[in-house]
Symmetry: D3
Subunit: 205 residues, 6 copies
């Protein structure tokens, strides 16, 4: 597939404590230039840049999380890269709601398999989600904290503890029969992966 | 059109009092398995399932509304079913903003007619909406309460009185001329249907 | 491209202090009939029209902003018009994140150039945004206040000072190297335009 | 007790979709002059009066609720009156959390008995509450809708169905022993009164 | 009256985009030490100080507003000073709801006269209000922007244009008779002062 | 001081995702009877008890936190007890904003010393705060999680990781001189205590 551009994976921007999330399966989530503060805001009187505490959130790489705010040239190793390609047909995500990878429908070919990513919240409980049809709802890798918060005017990024990700889970047979689900807390990565729904991104041939 | 899968019509999921709505015209709103609690949430420390009062909202069937919470095996009769088909071309909704059904543009064929569904709110005034282009903004049937709230960890569903649906209305000639609209309260179903905009879902031939 | 319909450019509707935004690049943002109050809301007991202080927000024209509420027949000159056409292929927005207009990818033809519109907030800090893939994120003209608020039941519209628009900005070389961005306040239109990212809406040939 | 002034019982004001509630037990909730729009708002550029859809909420009288918006001279019969007196000692509310009226502590005299009013929400889920120490948390009369919403710039008031009041309830013996409470829906006034906690407003002698 | 301490007039603190306002008539709004970031936050895992973009808001002095962020030693001239005194009796605010200063009740002596301050909003539409009984609802001076926002971790303060103050207004005779109020926009300080309700802070002798 | 009643320390109640906080220094925060669901809500149609996922939050004891939801008879050992006494004069909190305990003003006697508690957030970022004048802003003991969330209709309580407490901190000399504060993360209890402001609750003799 021909490459259109490459860039950095933007999840969402928050201005004046209001968030707007990009669909990770569409080209708009791949910004060519990374900046902790890629936007300004205007009212009838003036435009302002980097004056208030606005934020940007980006998909993160697999690098181990640092404890302290990340600054300057160090940031780039934590921000996930992306490419935008010209696809001959639209890609669609299929979710199994159990722990086995669903197969692509007949006449569709496989692009990648992953974990079913539903939505996220960051600072101030603002957040957003992914359409479960979009390839953005099927992340190749599962991590409890798949994105990083950058604080625009300070020029730093940080992995905060009160940033949440929401994932489709496998549904047990008991729940399917209508019984109330059982409360569970999963601490190890292997426990967590054994609970999250799997998905497949497929493209019409 | 070839069938890809069948399932249950998910309207939106609410985790930690934050909602994310699915587009009812896209495949992501058709979950193969029904569960009152189809997701879990994670932060850097752990993942949690069914521990807090998270919620799911589903399109409902035409069955008469029960007064009490619905549990166990009874739930299925109130949850709308869906199928995902492979369409040769995208479907588009057309809205008349009056009480007559709009016709499809020339060169487009009719899929179904319905009522113009705009948005919805549930618990805590959280909610979402439908793109007016999407076939999800054209529900075949009009009901004042077209969806049901399920309370994840309790495993029950309920039709609450403070759940709202928003619909495009017909615009009167006086309003078109710029006069202020008149306040109206409509109590009977026939009055209500006579006020709601009609729509048509069409597909390019 | 064949014309499907013409209408008025709806940005978003707010019912009971909850907003839902239309994608300006899709047909759903072009309503055939203008009304300050184009929807009603229902719960299980009744439907209501124009009873509470609901609002609609519309893209505005280039006409100079009036100071006072606009009523009756005067409104139409401030509401932007739109047409919905049948395109042979999907249109996509490309953003430069600097002040030069990006070129369309090879094999794509130019539809229009513009300024990178990201999101907006109105009354009560409610608002929404545009997918950066959508042609709705590339407005032909830059203005600090590109939309107008109409107050449904009163039948008037007004340009309020606490209505905000958010735009992608050009990123400086220093920021690309990871330095904290510098706070700026831009008061004149020429300063503002020199700061906002440019974009190009392209269509696959 | 000497009378300081008389007026109208203000519950809360909502400006720009943000509410601030007055303590019903203090003099600030008794405004001398009634107006649907008793305030204006300012930013650094200007002050505005009655330009946006701001609201005021007032305690209501026992008059039967009208279905339609109330306007002009009719409003006064639905707005509760108040007097501010100079008390020799502070008044305190005591709540029983069951259906019998609690007695005043020894050395305190009785001012009135009532029902334990906790909090309220109106338009857009904005609202507030009462300190359970304040005499404002003990309303003499129980009604499911003890207040009315006035829409400032239109000059009318209305009893809306999605306005809620919250009341302390009697706690059953089973719950005191730690069992989960049972869901109940109470439709008649006598059922409702039999469920709400009683209170006593007392003054130190 | 004996002096207890002097300090700086804190209006409210905002942590994680949630605000809590101090009553300006009580000692808790007078902090002995000024800091742009006077608090930290904790969850079960750790406490954090100055890591996120938290904010503090302070009453401002009459000094002319600067256009740019204020830093370092310059801040102090813009932050209002306060003293906490031991009063022999509680002080109470009385509001006239017109443009003449109300007199104190018989047996009460005058402390100061002012303008009726109701509530405020800052970043993200968060804010709070004053009890109309409290002396904090009667500010000696009227200004459209009586407070300043300090951004904790950056150590700077700024007068932003989308910070709002809400004031009781005088009620006209027509409104008292139940007519809808007229929309007004007031641009000059003298117009504004002629519209705001006056108040008197009185103390029982 | 004569005892009026004893009970359980209520911090706040949340109904329909809206919270109202009690002042911990006033009698209203001391409920005689503990229940995970001490209130019901009403609109014009009916009253409801324990039907939706409402919550109550209570000050907790020093018992080590359990990992799992707490149910039935086990709850009582985690809920802080309180007594309401008749004080001869009002109590006032004094905060040092450093790590030494402030002394009571001359003519005031000491009631207790503690740590300066400012505000809190729980589920859905809802929360509230304490007036810094109130004795409720001076908690005898410092813990990162001083309260517990009870889920009404399920009858259980739980210490969640995304529940936050906010505390006044000591202000360093550098900050007093206007320098930007330094980011810190404090993991051990001794580090945390060395950072939190101390306070003293005093009563006029």
């Amino acid at each position: 597939m021909p490459l259109l551009w490459s860039g950095y994976s933007l999840l969402y921007l928050e201005g004046q404590e209001k968030a707007y999330t990009q669909d990770l399966g569409r080209a708009g989530s791949c910004l060519r230039v990374f900046s902790t503060m890629p936007f300004s805001y205007c009212n009838s009187a003036a435009c302002h840049y980097a004056s208030r505490n606005d934020k940007s959130y980006w998909l993160s790489t697999n690098n181990p999380l640092p404890m302290m705010p990340i600054s300057c040239g160090e940031i780039y190793q934590y921000i996930s890269r992306c490419v935008v390609c010209e696809a001959p047909a639209p890609a669609v995500a299929v979710h199994s709601q159990n722990t086995s990878v669903p197969s692509c429908p007949i006449g569709w070919s496989s692009l990648w398999i992953g974990y079913s990513f539903l939505m996220h919240t960051g600072s101030g409980d603002e957040g957003g989600g992914q359409s479960l049809t979009s390839s953005g709802s099927c992340l190749k890798d599962f991590r409890t904290q798949p994105f990083v918060e950058c604080q625009g005017p300070r020029g730093t990024c940080h992995f905060f503890a009160n940033v949440y990700s929401f994932w489709l889970t496998g549904v047990s047979h008991k729940e399917e029969q209508g019984l109330a689900p059982q409360t569970r807390t999963l601490k190890t990565t292997s426990q967590q992966r054994a609970c999250i729904s799997r998905c497949h991104v497929c493209m019409k041939q």
